[in-house]
């Protein structure tokens, strides 16, 4: 004890009673700084290490193809023009399925959010159906909607419908009650309150629901294209997997990932446009 005290004094000889020292800084930390360059650097570093591992034979060719091989498969796709064919088929299914699922989901979510009867009747149903893996229902979808585009779109539609319902009615529930009371106190009509107060107030929740549902749509795309699809990124990945053409498999997965990034970016833009009123 006394030993430490003596050492302390020895280290800071100025700490006599008269000398003024600066207050030590204790703040900082726990705050994020924007470091824009880090993420591409990490990405490139991983790719380089991976390529290096493959070239030196540390990573076996059978286990994982080199990034350059996957890139070659991708270039091949572009050269043969198959990329566009696959993308066209997949985007059609994604856009139609997601749009219909989202529109229906927002409509049903609003109904649940606004009407007690709908809430009592539909909410348990939504809770019961949401956790069912839609892949398990594929055979049923084929029977109901045929082997063509119908069953593929339906898979994506059902997958995106439920999360949108839940996000929407949650958003409606979260609209500031005081704003609704204000609308009522000024004698606004029911429709005006829904359109001008509830809908914009639920918009942040609906858009973040879109973020989730769009990712689910991409996940389900691969499942949907298990149903006798000739073209489509999912079909391409599945085919590659069946043939153990791992370079094509990685190329297909990279396309799906890029698709996800692009959709995420688009939703980010939509958020900035619709929610510019937020801080």
């Amino acid at each position: 004890m006394s030993h430490e005290a003596v050492q302390d004094r020895a280290v800071t000889p100025e700490s006599s009673d008269t000398a003024a020292t600066q207050v030590p800084f204790r703040g900082g930390g726990f705050r994020h700084k924007p470091l824009g360059l880090v993420s591409p650097l990490v990405f490139i570093a991983i790719l380089l290490l991976w390529e290096l591992g493959s070239r030196t034979g540390f990573i076996s060719d059978i286990a994982l193809p080199a990034p350059s091989q996957a890139l070659a498969a991708l270039v091949d796709l572009v050269k043969t023009g198959m990329l566009w064919k696959h993308l066209e088929a997949s985007l059609f299914r994604l856009i139609v399925g997601w749009t219909l699922g989202s529109l229906l989901g927002v409509a049903v979510g609003l109904t649940i959010g606004l009407f007690s009867l709908a809430r009592a009747g539909l909410l348990p149903l939504v809770s019961a159906l949401f956790p069912i893996p839609k892949i398990a229902l594929l055979p049923l979808f084929i029977i109901w909607f045929g082997i063509g585009e119908g069953s593929k779109v339906a898979t994506i539609l059902f997958g995106t419908f439920f999360p949108t319902v839940i996000a929407t009615y949650g958003g409606v529930d979260n609209v500031d009650r005081n704003l609704i009371r204000m609308g009522q106190s000024f004698g606004l009509s029911w429709l005006s309150i829904v359109r001008k107060i509830i809908m914009p107030g639920a918009m942040p929740a609906i858009l973040s629901g879109f973020r989730i549902s769009s990712s689910i749509a991409i996940v389900l795309l691969v499942a949907a294209e298990m149903i006798g699809a000739e073209y489509g990124i999912g079909a391409y990945v599945l085919m590659a997997g069946a043939l153990f053409a791992t370079d094509q498999l990685i190329a297909g997965v990279a396309i799906l990932s890029a698709l996800g990034l692009i959709i995420g970016w688009l939703i980010g833009r939509a958020e900035r446009y619709f929610l510019s009123w937020r801080t």
Binding site: D176, N178, L179, R181, S185, F186, G187, L188, S192
Partner: protein
């Protein structure tokens, strides 16, 4: 237009919040309702504007509201209740749109009320860009745009800092001097009550009953210069309330 409250009583579940409240509010008069927290002041105001229904008793309107009044009973809320996604003018136009007032006609009204609340330079601003005092001015402009017969003010200055409160109080006095609106003004701040009220209704703690009605016979415009007299009055009201407020402070509450 005259508003009469006829023996209003109300329960929230097993809790009795208001008991046998009767008073009336006549044209051009500002009635302040003060009372310890949880005494049902805001509930009472919601009854007056028809946002809630009392268990017993009734709120009666007699006489016609002015013909040009779009929304005779108009609230001003403590939390301003502005739509954050609409600009200042958008927030005012919100309450006009439902009356079919759009375009040039709406513009004229908006110009007028924004000028009266000194907001003309902030038409395009969003609520988040405004200070608390400015936000409440927007809410007042919105209320003025529907030409209310009675303003129902629910602690309109309580969310503001004391300097802004002072400024807005002056604005309200100016506004009243020009327009002679009638108002029911709920507050827990006695200084506001003696500055703005022609009559002050002092409620007891829960269940809220009328303890006393204090008349202040001094023109609103003169009050700024006669603060000493007001101070005596304020102290008298505080004496009435002190014990009640202390007891109310000790209560455990599950009523909003």
């Amino acid at each position: 237009m005259k508003i009469t409250l006829d023996s209003i009583s109300h329960h929230y579940g097993p809790t009795e919040v208001l008991k046998d409240i009767s008073f009336s509010l006549s044209d051009g008069e500002i009635v302040c309702i003060v009372g310890p927290s949880g005494c049902g002041k805001s509930t009472l105001l919601r009854f007056i504007g028809g946002l809630e229904r009392p268990d017993r008793g009734q709120v009666l309107l007699s006489g016609r509201p002015p013909a040009d009044s779009l929304n005779p009973l108009t609230y001003i809320f403590q939390d301003f209740a502005l739509l954050p996604w609409r600009t200042v003018e958008g927030n005012v136009s919100l309450v006009l749109e439902d009356h079919g007032i759009r375009g040039e006609k709406a513009r004229a009204i908006i110009d007028d009320v924004l000028a009266r609340t000194k907001l003309s330079d902030f038409r395009k601003a969003l609520p988040r860009q405004l200070s608390g005092g400015m936000k409440q001015r927007v809410a007042i402009a919105r209320a003025l745009s529907v030409r209310p017969a009675v303003m129902l003010m629910d602690e309109p200055l309580s969310a503001l800092d004391s300097q802004t409160r002072e400024l807005l109080m002056d604005d309200l006095v100016d506004l009243w001097t020009r327009e002679r609106f009638s108002a029911c003004y709920v507050t827990h701040n006695l200084a506001e009550a003696v500055r703005l009220g022609h009559r002050i209704i002092v409620l007891s703690r829960r269940p809220g009953r009328i303890r006393e009605i204090v008349e202040i016979d001094m023109p609103l415009a003169e009050r700024v210069d006669r603060l000493a007299e007001l101070d005596t009055m304020q102290r008298r009201i505080w004496e009435l309330m002190r014990e009640e407020a202390r007891a109310a402070d000790m209560e455990i509450s599950d009523v909003a």
